[in-house]
């Protein structure tokens, strides 16, 4: 159950940025912090790292989301990785 710290950077267009923010707020998997300008801190608590990655990728497809930067991840609960 990894916990990821991410920063979502919204577009400069206030209207689209606002719309993106409400899409993310409506998604229970995202816990959003207080925006600092266009940069919104967020936490993803997911069942796997794969889910965290696909959530960030999905977010990138939302109109008004410019970047999603992952700044940290705690995977202390993950068991040993499988070899391919």
């Amino acid at each position: 159950m990894p916990i990821s710290s991410v920063v979502v950077t919204l577009s400069q267009d206030g209207v689209v940025a606002e719309a993106a923010l409400s899409i993310l707020s409506a998604d229970p998997r995202w816990t959003l912090g207080a925006p600092n300008g266009r940069h919104v801190p967020a936490v993803l608590d997911t069942t796997s790292l794969e889910d965290a990655v696909s959530l960030t990728e999905d977010a990138l497809r939302i109109d008004g989301v410019q970047f999603v930067d992952v700044v940290g991840v705690d995977f202390s609960d993950l068991s040993e990785q499988e070899a391919t």
Partner: protein, 802 residues
Amino acid sequence: MKRRALLQSAAMAMATTAAARLAGGDEVSAEGAEPARRRLPLSPDLVWDKAPCRFCGTGCHVEVGVQKGKVVAVRGDLQAEVNKGLLCVKGYHVGLALYGKDRLTQPMLRKDGELVPISWDEAIDIVAQRAELDGFALYGSGQWTIPEGYAGNKLMKAGLGSNHIDPNARLCMASAVTGFLSVYGVDEPAGCYDDLDRCDVLILWGNNPAEMHPVLWSRVLERKVAGEDVKLIDIGTRETRSSGFCDHVLTMKPQGDLAIANGIARLLLERGTYDKAFVDAHCAFRAHGDKPTLQGEAISFEQFKEGLAPYTPEHVEELSGVKPDDLRMLADLFGRRDLRITSLWCMGMNQHTQGTAINALVHGIHLLSGHFGRPGDAPTSLTGQASACGTVSEVGTLAHGLPGGLLVENAEHRKEAEAIWNVPPGRVNPKPGHHTVEMWKRFCTPKSQGGDIQTIWVMVTNPGQTMPNLNALVAPSRKLDGKFLIVSDVYPTATTKIADLVLPSAMWVEKNGMFGNSERRTQQWFKMVEPPGQARDDAWQLLAVARRLHDRGHPGMKDKDGKFLFDVAGPDGKSVPVWEWEHYYDVNVDERLFEEYRKFTRFKHKDLAPYAEYVKARGLRWPVIQHEDGVWRETKFRFVEGEDRYVKKDAGVQFYHSTSKDDRAQIWLHPYTAPPEVPDAEFPFWLCTGRVIEHWHTGTMTRRIPELWRSMPNAYVEVNAKDADRLGVKNGDRLALESRRGKLELPVWIDGRGAPPQGTLFVPFFDETMLVNVLTLEAYDPFSKQPDYKKCAVRAKKVVST
């Protein structure tokens, strides 16, 4: 539940700090005081320490969280100037690279065709015995740490008196080195990543930083998003993920870069928009004479101009496919003094049979137009590997090199090296060893036919996947009597699978280490966790072999005073038996090796600070000079007065290693030449190979990280939609590619992640189940000896399942 809530609130604190930093409200003080967030670890009982990311040459710093002897968390390091707390998808998963289930954990020897476990003692004995024989070579890496590379170089050159050591960086940045040497007389970029924050125009020359140096790319895009007027221009043979963000995308024919650079220079001269004052004060002109050399011969400005005369915009279009208006647009930009222009390149210009030439030409247009020496005005090469600059270029782990930029062919340089190593005069062999392609060619040739390399010890690299033309340069050796392949690595690879002896290595934070990134930044980290099983440090392996040779009576393993070549004294002055694994960490061997290596760095003004300075810092960019106040300070911009302490007062700009010995840089005339293999009726497609963001080079680490592997599980062939129509294939069908050297089947991805123009195919090289290098060409640049992986001719046919 309580713990989870705590973890979540700590994670939010981290994200909030990063958001503040991105917004300009940085919590980290300029003095580097501990930021508030350091008191808020994700898990309360984690121990954090710093390390550079294991993967690419960007050199991001991560903080590594360790709990109960295991790496359990990573986060971007806010104190690191390179990445300012950010990481790319690979860096984000770097901790997991340690924990693939099939780590190599004990030495194995091939007996009756099978790899069977043996003891370390036996393994070291076998390597020492092979090293005593003629034809022993060490094939190293830009992912060796600096102390590992230094130990390998010293073992070969000061110990065995042999120069048969070369690294995989020969395949990735050798042309950048020869480009720098031919222009400035000394290698590595004059500028640094700060240029990316200051330029008005950024030109990508065959470069895809969105996938290869993603953190640097986001640094540039952040400026664009913030509304800064920064123009991005992409010049390449296919559109990539980077192209989508660019203002201009100029798709060129392979090798067209030579014509484009010459075309820009011609327009600057024709219009009189070159920077005459800068050129008169700081530049000279060069071209090859009858016998080409890296230094070339002096030519006049008039001869230079005459040589450029054929490169009219129309002729450049014929050679490169780039429209005359686009060429004029580039010349307009270079002709303006009010703009700051940074050029970036990596493999597109380096893996090129005219790699030295195109590197020199791009430096040349910057010099000619005076776009040099101000922050943001810089020609900058990026390296692929984490320590290609630090361990290869600087430590000199090349067949012709010595540490600190010295050369084996130069008698004075050999004397200096022998003095530092305290070995008898004549110990360093004046004859360069075999460069990479030649080394492997001779390993694949019977001894009776001139194949003078009998043993290769491979460390931290995977030539069974990365050498070009694998069917000629690797496979034959496996069928020849007397050829012995030793591989030190962390996971089974395409190379360990064909090795005679496999040695298990420690990786990344399982050992002490130092890397040197693309911007001359030397970085240090400490061991944080134990390696698995019997895996051991590569530096230990080298020292243990040296000691075994010493004990077997090899004269080269003693210095002039009869001491062991790698003698390490403890605090009491007594020698510590660091060749015994149980004593290896009794002292900091890395520090001892580094402090000795540091003595070499003053010769070419690549001065490094004492080891302790790197312990405190998130890397320092050389030359690092101790100022009058006792503080060691780095250099951001070389050759520029006020920035670089080696520039004389009032000189403004001084190229103090000038090949013409007059403090001038060389502007080269290099005519366009065609690639060695071009598509024809039989092999009608261009094939380009490269990397993807998810995987680190041959994927041996990243393919073991399930999240990365699942998001990019296998190689593919990227095909233009019209070509796909013509070939009758759709996504997921298989195409059989065939070159004059080999055959390979791959699944089709129409237009793929990039968009190849018609007639061009692209295949990534990360997948060991689909080795694209059976197709590639071994032709190489005459000076750098770097092969061209970016262009060869293939044919393609749909695979019809039966």
